[in-house]
Symmetry: none
Subunit: 424 residues, 2 copies
């Protein structure tokens, strides 16, 4: 079954409100196995609403509208749908009666436009609105199902759940669409795609799509089945295969952040970590300390923004700073060793770089960042040099992410833990 969503309201076209109904309805329809092919937003204009309704019904089995059910002249969803279906509008006497009662009980005058809310296309059913005055309408006509719901989300949601979901799933064996998102690190979008291209192209029961945003790369697996359990069972072999191919690049799933995954790994490892941050200025510490339970594994760190602070709080030799500059592999290593020693930690992780917009030179451009990880034995000090793209905030965010990747790799090497989660 194919559905379209139509959102009616000039305030949406002016950007005055955020269309959260679109996300909500799309998620819920996916969950009951209905494919949404289009969402459309249109203003409070009779001709344009009617055109949108006709077009949508020409393409789809189900149309769900939101908005335009109030009592004012601007509210014309009922009228436009009736015209598009070629059905007359009739008054639902029970609804008219309850509107009259509503006003009588409050001793308020009922103006003629209020009676409009009792209208519906002939053959339709009123959908009660427990949280507002505008009832919804449900019509089936020539095999198409049309549901009209009010715009306010706190009214739309219970009406959709109680009255529309049962009508859409009646008589069909409901299928549920289940998505699983695998979160990846240390791999680019195109490299990822190359490795799983054949699985994406296979177009089997489980579809696979790569997603990328702000330095993060994800793979979404989607499948359809009678139940959540059987969908996950169907997905399992493909998820296994992807995890086998991508190995450690898969750090988590379904919304888990890299900081969460890495903090959990650190806590499980029993190791203690100290941080020394220059250009990221405390961002990495802030991300790690966002995770409950981190205190056992994270005694603390230093935000060593000025050179003098690198010396005073981390013991970085002044000569080293003078010779190599604060943004150098040498100083990065000394920062990592410095925080490790001062806190008696198992690991010292340091970041120093040029986040911009000022401070870059041809030899040391904006985006140059060193990340250093010191571990227990004297020879265990690894320094990475990176060139990150973007503005100040992006350089900082990418540096934090890369430091987490580096820490995670090292923890995985040491603990022998793999990042592999069970497939269900």
């Amino acid at each position: 079954m194919i559905a379209e969503l139509l959102f009616i309201g000039t305030e949406l076209l002016l950007g005055q409100i955020l269309n959260t109904n679109a996300q909500y309805l799309s998620q819920r329809l996916a969950a009951i196995g209905v494919d949404v092919y289009r969402q459309t937003v249109v203003g409070d204009n009779f001709g344009r609403v009617e055109a949108c309704v006709s077009e949508a019904l020409g393409r789809s089995d189900i149309l769900i509208t939101s908005g335009g059910l109030g009592p004012t002249a601007d509210d014309l969803t009922r009228e436009a749908v009736a015209r598009a279906l070629g059905l007359p509008l009739v008054t639902d006497s029970q609804t008219l009666h309850s509107i009259e009662r509503f006003f009588a009980e409050r001793s308020r005058p009922m103006t003629p436009n209020n009676a409009k809310q009792a209208l519906l296309p002939a053959g339709g059913q009123m959908i009660p609105n427990p949280r507002g005055t505008a009832p919804g309408v449900y019509v089936e006509h020539h095999g198409k199902k049309i549901a009209m719901l009010p715009g306010p989300p706190h009214e739309l949601v219970p009406m959709f759940e109680q009255a529309i979901v049962p009508r859409l799933t009646a008589g069909c064996q409901a299928q549920t669409i289940v998505s699983r998102v695998l979160h990846l690190c240390g791999i680019g979008e195109s490299d990822l795609e190359t490795r799983v291209r054949d699985l994406i192209d296979a177009q089997g029961e489980t579809t696979i799509a790569p997603l990328a945003s702000l330095g993060e790369v994800k793979l979404r697996l989607t499948t359809k089945a009678d139940s959540q359990e059987s969908a996950l069972r169907r997905m399992a072999p493909i998820e296994e295969e992807i995890r086998r191919r991508l190995g450690r690049h898969v750090y988590g799933m379904d919304g888990e952040t890299l900081a969460q995954a890495t903090a959990a790994l650190l806590i499980r490892s029993g190791f203690r970590l100290g941080l020394a941050e220059s250009c990221t200025g405390g961002m990495l510490a802030a991300e790690l300390t966002g995770q409950p339970g981190i205190s056992a594994a994270f005694p603390g760190g230093v935000v060593a923004y000025a050179d003098a602070t690198k010396s005073a709080l981390l013991g970085v030799p002044k000569g080293l700073l003078r010779r190599h500059g604060a943004v150098s592999a040498q100083v990065c290593g000394a920062m990592a060793r410095g925080i490790q020693a001062r806190l008696g930690a198992d690991f010292g992780l340091a970041i120093t770089g040029i986040a911009g917009p000022e401070g870059g030179t041809p030899a040391k451009p904006v985006g140059l960042v060193y990340i250093g990880l010191a571990a227990s034995s004297p020879d265990e000090l690894v320094i990475q040099q990176h060139r990150f793209l973007g503005d100040r905030s992006m350089v900082r965010a990418r540096a934090v992410r890369q430091a987490l990747v580096m820490l995670r790799e090292s923890l995985l090497d040491r603990t022998g833990v793999t990042s592999k989660e069970p497939a269900s």
Copy 2:
């Protein structure tokens, strides 16, 4: 001029992401006098994208798309627009060259799919993407203007502002809607409303609306005029009056954050600040160091998560920790003095508290936070005790905000600077 917006991405149809670009683009187009008649969301399907593009161009002068510009096979916006326009796709050699350089500089292999991002419909122009790898495309064809932008909002927004707005407004005189948002601190929403109720009710040419979100309170002023300048001139007397009534509570405007405003004030003051953070774990340092130019005023800080770190890096006496506990006015004061002394800073600002979810007791519940500010003379040490509501992340965010308010107040007292900005 009539515009339509087309959002391309199956993840939108599955409800996996909220379409904030729709609101942003609609607001901005309204502000430059372009009417948006439709917003459409469609999945990553060539035929359906092409149909949407053709239909939209049949109705409108301007089409703005977002999404589908990445390097993968799913990304087919360029191809679908070219087909709908009947234009061949050509390679932009400069873009291809910069993609090749990008991979070469990182010693990463460039897979063939990456070259796709250098394609555009013949006659079009590439739109640089400073925050990502997918460039946008702008085409004018038979009097229609088409802009293709990437989906991630942090990429789309600057590209729209810098490259698309000037192309859409070139040569037209439009009525412009101008909004100014005044950002407030240290005042609650209802207190604010009481103080400006009469101005809100006046309903003149300038409308005033209070806005509140996550501990932040704002006032939005909106007016319409031929030009930005005349709108601001019309707004000026009301803005003056509001600023007169609210005084220091107005810390900034039009998106300025409290961290930005406070960092700017700190830099102007010539004072140097050291930070000692426990429960906020580096968040305050991260916010301040997000501001360019802060290094002159911020030598650094310590994230003193464990008690031992408070002693080792800040010199907090062990006896004090034992007697009063880490979350106490006494330890907070010692942390503030400790970081001030170690860095030779003018101010030491310390935060210690219980962010939860664990660690609360009846005497020291989750949400209890001490914030201490030490200044130069020995008697200048102020400790505030707070009980913040909410979960771990909210307690931390509120503590950071309150520490900024406290620092700002102290800086205003000392420098005699008011936070009053010129009205235009």
